[in-house]
Amino acid sequence: MDREILNELTVALQKGDAIKTQKFVKIALKKGYEPEQILTEGLVSSMNTIAEKFKKKQIFVPDLLLATRAMNAGIFILKPKLKKQLFSPIGKVLIGTIEGDLHDIGKNLVKVFLERAGFEVIDLGNDVPVNYFIEAIKKFKPQILGLSASLTTTMYGMRDVIKALEKEGLRENLLIVVGGVPITESFATGIGADIYDMDGTKVADKAKEKLKCSNF
């Protein structure tokens, strides 16, 4: 079987063209490719290439996002035909910006990188009160909680969330990642967070690593 169609699929995905990606997935299916092969050799391998290019700063965030969107469009076609569920999230992350803080583009970017790394991410948005975090943790039972703050006057809200989690007995089986413009490593450590990186693009890798080492 010639690989031309998979090559075309790769090009479409890497260009972030969701319509063409779907088109080539359909053609590949018609030509008799197994759905699993299209998924792994067409979509996933192309996406891995994109992710590598992003890490090397050879492409921009929009390229990454558009390729992700194209991959998801391709998976949408393949999903009913797959023999088994090939993708299960590597972990669940609850993420939100601290109460009183209305900045969220940094948090949104981190969310993208976490999803790209295979996490299921539940986004509580910005200006999230402490009790919302607590209720959401009880409801969604994530392994990781991401807290974001962009102001010197809201960063201590992260400490309040962590204290409330301790009080509720919810802290033990939870990794906490913190970030935002005024946050430093020593601040993160000081309030009892588990994961921090000044560079939001590195948070997903760190979270993956920490989760692997934990028992939850």
Partner: protein, 460 residues
């Protein structure tokens, strides 16, 4: 105040487009004249890491008092001809207007004391936080959030503010999405329709408050918009050409404050300020190299080229070897201004301006679109538009053309990735329909989400 539409440039000649001088200078009772030839420092400072609530508010007041004393003392020692202090209220001080008002009183009291005892001329800019966001936002122009913003403006205006500003956020969520995907149509819609409509309503009311209290409605900034793009571009996450084109589009949006009656100086973090000055003639505040305490940029020198106030953006109160950070920033700004003013005094201000320009403009697209000659070329096109949407599209198209021209004649360095995006942005612009209603209907259909509800802007 009746709405004004700017259909002509206030500055036509490149030699008239220089720091310190604005066609519509503003004279104050204390003798300061902004845009009258002298560049003044505008110092902005904020609290150190601390929570602001009813238990800590007295500590916050004490911090503001001490920071203001430190800044005034240092400014006096350095013999400044005048000083502007800006307080960007923290969110809790807009959610609780009485705290913002009390902070205004405290800061102004110190400034008055230095003026009376030591002759230190100063002005206070108060910038409430635009809190019109979040899940419980009822509507952009009515309800609790709107009332909080207006109450804060009114209270601060009555209690010591000389200049009123805001970093308004109407259309921001939509714009954030536009930036993340470099989606030009969405960006144009967020700025040319959504933000534009919000700016009209918001500034109509701010101007009214300023008129009633006899103070200055100064201006807005695209901080929540083009600064997001600029910082992401500096970090290599989006192309600099997108941030540059976004900045020029934002000029149309920020200028709406002036159309509603704002008379400057606009907010420091509005790097679109040169466009506002060229078109409206009002003085502008700018920030650049001395704002590295707050964020990075690729336009630290060029930002000063046509500035009338020179700012540090914001610094949190911390102790360094040279003293407390607000005092240190004051000193840095004072020396920057002193040098620029000395060039003016010696008749060499255009030389200084050109050195500020040439040292940055070749290296980055965002810096390039701040080049005074480029600003005048693009501004000339913007004013041909009849509506805000049309002006936004013209701004983008003219910016694309100027950037391309700059690259082709060797005035601007761009790599292949950036050039690809420039072409992509150009073709995206072509696909936006000319019919405003059709465009709005299409955008609403595809972009109404939990984060953007057109009904909150009375669009739909």
């Amino acid at each position: 105040m009746a709405k004004v539409t700017f259909n002509e440039l206030a500055i036509n000649n490149l030699n008239d487009f220089v720091y310190g001088h604005a066609p519509k200078k503003i004279k104050f009772d204390n003798g300061m004249v902004i845009g009258g030839g002298t560049v003044y420092p505008e110092v902005n400072f904020t609290l150190p890491p601390m929570q602001v609530n009813k238990n800590t508010i007295s500590k916050a007041y004490k911090q503001y008092k001490e920071m203001t004393e430190g800044v005034c003392q240092r400014a006096m020692e350095l013999q400044v001809p005048g000083l502007v202090i800006e307080i960007e209220l923290v969110p809790d001080m807009t959610f609780n207007p009485e705290w913002g008002i009390e902070t205004t009183k405290i800061v102004k009291e110190v400034m008055n004391e230095y003026q009376d005892k030591n002759g230190l001329k100063s002005l206070l800019r108060i910038t409430p936080v635009d809190v019109r966001e979040g899940n419980d936002l009822e509507h952009m122009w009515r309800g609790k959030h709107w009332d909080l913003v207006m109450d804060t403006f009114k209270g601060c205006a009555e209690n010591g503010a000389d200049l009123l500003s805001i970093e308004s956020v109407g259309g921001k969520n939509l714009h954030d999405d536009g930036v993340m995907f470099c989606d030009v149509a969405k960006t144009v819609f967020s700025l040319g329709i959504v933000a534009a409509r919000d700016m009209e309503k918001l500034w109509e009311n701010i101007v009214k408050i300023a008129e009633e209290t006899n103070i200055i409605p100064a201006g807005d900034t695209a901080c929540a918009f083009a600064n997001t793009s600029m910082v992401l571009a500096v970090r290599g996450m989006i192309p600099t050409v997108f941030s540059a084109i976004d900045r020029v589009m934002c000029a149309v949006r920020t200028m709406i404050a002036n159309e509603q009656g704002a008379i400057g100086p606009d907010k420091d973090c509005g790097y679109e300020g040169p466009y506002i000055k060229a078109i409206t003639g009002t003085p502008i505040s700018m920030e650049g190299k001395s704002a590295a305490v707050a964020h990075n940029s690729f336009c630290g020198n060029i930002a000063a080229a046509v500035a009338d106030l020179w700012s540090n953006e914001a610094v949190e109160n911390k102790r360094l070897l040279g003293g407390m950070t607000p005092e240190i920033c004051t000193e840095m700004l004072v020396y920057d201004c002193r040098l620029m003013n000395q060039f003016t005094a010696s008749g060499n201000n255009l030389l200084m301006r050109d050195m500020l320009v040439e040292s940055d403009s070749r290296l980055d697209a965002h810096a390039y679109i701040m080049k005074p000659s480029v600003v005048l070329n693009i501004a000339k096109e913007i004013i041909k538009g009849k509506t805000h949407l049309e002006r936004t599209k013209i701004a983008a198209k003219a910016a694309v053309q100027e950037i391309r021209k700059g690259f082709e004649n060797g005035s601007l360095e761009l790599n292949e990735r950036e050039l690809n995006y420039l072409n992509m942005i150009d073709s995206q612009l072509e696909s936006i329909p000319d019919n405003e209603e059709e465009f709005i209907a299409d955008m609403i259909e595809n972009n109404t989400t939990e984060k953007f509800d057109p009904k909150k802007y009375d669009i739909a």
